[in-house]
């Protein structure tokens, strides 16, 4: 149908969702969308994104405390460090765009943390995936599920956002989540 309507390149994903072996996302189209109005200026998008990374970082730190063995504890701390790197790149982008240097403490005061990446709360993620906190594979699987959820949310948000620069920022963050998901997959394969 699409090819006949002027779509230049159309590919059928054979087997559809049933054949899809990688992580999937769940929930309706509006899940987590309340975090963004769609009218945010670029700096506001970065503040929301930073808060989501902060939420996930705190989530991993909480789980590190609950972890049953040292390997899993280390893994959670490693995952939380990755979120710190994401936060730093968002903070750097904030200062570049605002053209006024805001120190990190002042920036963090402007950021509210309410939800994790992907738009679900800590409890919702744990209820949903019920990870075994003694298993490295399950922990990485949980992290991959969250990244898949985050990638999905940023895609949906991108279609809602009207400001071109804000949209570009969201797309860039979505691409970073995609890379993060791939690297977690490699980590999983290495176990």
């Amino acid at each position: 149908m699409l090819a006949g309507k002027g779509f230049k390149k159309v590919f059928n994903v054979s087997g559809g969702i049933n054949a899809w072996k990688s992580k999937t996302a769940i929930g309706p189209q509006d899940l987590g969308m309340d975090l963004f109005t769609g009218k945010e200026a670029p700096l506001d998008v970065l503040k929301v994104a930073y808060s989501l990374e902060q939420g996930l970082r705190e989530f991993y730190i909480t789980l590190a405390k609950k972890a049953g063995n040292e390997k899993v504890k280390d893994l959670f701390l490693k995952l939380s460090d990755i979120e710190v790197k994401h936060q730093m790149s968002i903070y750097t982008a904030y200062n570049q765009i605002s053209k006024v240097e805001t120190n990190k403490a002042d920036f963090e005061k402007m950021v509210e943390t309410g939800a994790l990446e992907g738009g679900l709360s800590t409890e919702e993620y744990l209820d949903l995936f019920k990870p075994d906190l003694n298993s490295e594979k399950e922990v990485i699987s949980l992290a991959m599920s969250i990244e898949a959820q985050a990638l999905d949310l940023y895609h949906r948000v991108s279609s809602k956002i009207t400001h071109p620069e804000s949209k570009a920022i969201v797309n860039k963050i979505a691409d970073e989540e995609k890379v993060h998901l791939t690297s977690l997959g490699r980590l999983m394969d290495s176990l």
Partner: protein
């Protein structure tokens, strides 16, 4: 009648090829289109997919960019 729609075959990707294709392309340069029903999408979907159920597709084509490669499932 637009014969093109019957004569233009869509190439198929298996999931590995589709995943690799999306990994190689920036998010805003490819459309991943989910044409199932909202209840199916809610249960599970490929991250980043845009939902337009098949019965609505003809009326909502303007929401999509025909210039972008489009992966459909």
């Amino acid at each position: 009648m637009k014969w093109m729609q019957f004569l233009t075959p869509a190439q198929s990707f298996d999931y590995k090829e589709a995943e690799a294709y999306m990994a190689e392309h920036a998010s805003d340069t490819v459309t991943l289109l989910d044409v199932r029903q909202p209840s199916e999408y809610k249960e599970s979907h490929i991250p980043g997919a845009t939902l337009i159920p098949l019965p609505e597709l003809t009326d909502r084509l303007a929401e999509l960019d025909p210039e972008k490669p489009t992966l459909v499932y």
